[in-house]
């Protein structure tokens, strides 16, 4: 069994991360999932949350704002509209993002409002986790 797989994190503007990992945790639409090498091929949508990779070089966490993940046995590609490395230096950016989500939750209506409210809750949790 392969011990590592290729992990790519891509945003529309550029490729953010690309390296070998042993394990990836994804905030799947149906609940969090952990992907390890030789996982069955899956395409899943992501809700905003934290992507966590564990590889030979340690653990990294990214805050992503939704998107989707393409999983094959040998690689994981996460396509996120925005992704921020969860580290103290990005705290401000994530907080700003939370503000935007709150604003949207206030102004949007119907289905969009519900979605925005879920996003606010998730992001608040994310910031809380970072401490």
């Amino acid at each position: 069994m392969a011990e590592t797989m290729q992990f790519d994190l891509v945003s529309p503007e550029r490729r953010l991360a690309s390296f070998k990992v042993a394990e990836v945790q994804l905030p799947g639409a149906e609940g969090d999932m952990t992907v390890m090498p030789d996982h069955a091929p899956v395409i899943t949508t992501l809700r905003p949350g934290v992507v966590r990779m564990t590889g030979p070089e340690g653990t990294q966490r990214y805050a992503v704002t939704g998107g989707f993940a393409e999983i094959t046995g040998t690689s994981v590609s996460v396509l996120a509209e925005r992704a921020m490395l969860a580290e103290p230096g990005n705290r401000e950016a994530i907080e700003k993002h939370l503000e935007e989500a709150r604003e949207q939750a206030r102004t949007a209506a119907g289905e969009h409002k519900d979605m925005a409210e879920v996003l606010v809750a998730d992001l608040a949790q994310l910031l809380h986790d970072m401490v």
């Binding site: 529309p12 503007e13 149906e30 989707f68 393409e70 509209e81």
Partner: protein, 289 residues
Amino acid sequence: MPSLKDLKNRIQSVKNTRKITKAMQMVAAAKLRRAQDSAEAARPYAERMNAVVGGLAASFGGSDNAPRLLAGTGQDKVHLLVVMTSERGLCGGFNSSIARLARQHAQKLLAQGKTVKIITVGKKGREQLKRDLSSHFIAHVDLGDVKRIGYVDAQKIARDVLARFDAGEFDVATLFFNRFQSVIAQIPTAQQIIPAHFEAGEPSTTLYDYEPSEEAVLADLLPRGVTTQIFTALLENGASEQGARMSAMDNATRNAGDMIDKLTIVYNRSRQASITKELIEIISGAEAL
């Protein structure tokens, strides 16, 4: 016959113009490199997105439960044209070629008795289309303050377009932009984005599981796919604009050089003529004594 002083002033002013166009050319070259870099950096996302959505869309093609964004409204009455041009001029035929293509398209649709609605992105195209199509304008996106095109700009446009589609304001949406081929060649392109159309890549051999479900994934990804197409178009357009400006300014610099050469010859000739004239006057004056 202009005096020597006039000629000298003229040469100086053309030289100043040449300096400016030369500087603009170099600025455009630097910006072009940056624009190409961001287009390059955006490629992995767009390719993956198109492959996944294209694969999904192909498997849904023609089926009844395909999302409206993919299947269309079933009508072909109201067309939305999204015309992307630049915010600044001095870039050769860049804006005219997009405007021409959009105008032709609009006139063809109008002749067929269809309704045309236009969203303009960038002020130059709006100015050019204003003359005969201003009654069809429904919105304008100003990118004048945007230094570097980001995904948020594409999202803003996409959100507007998708909201209008959901509200039933149009049946078919087409993007007009310049596809970047090289510095001297930009191809005005019309691309249909709604009903969503993805270039069919190679059919994927892997059988994927879909979470939550194939329909849900497709419904979630289609708007993102449309946004990505708009973003790609914006980037292509940005690179094309700088390429067009660069070659236009290169031309202008060369023309200014030619003009300086011509004026210098005229200047030297008339200087020589005036010296000869003076000599003749002195000599004939001396002979008369």
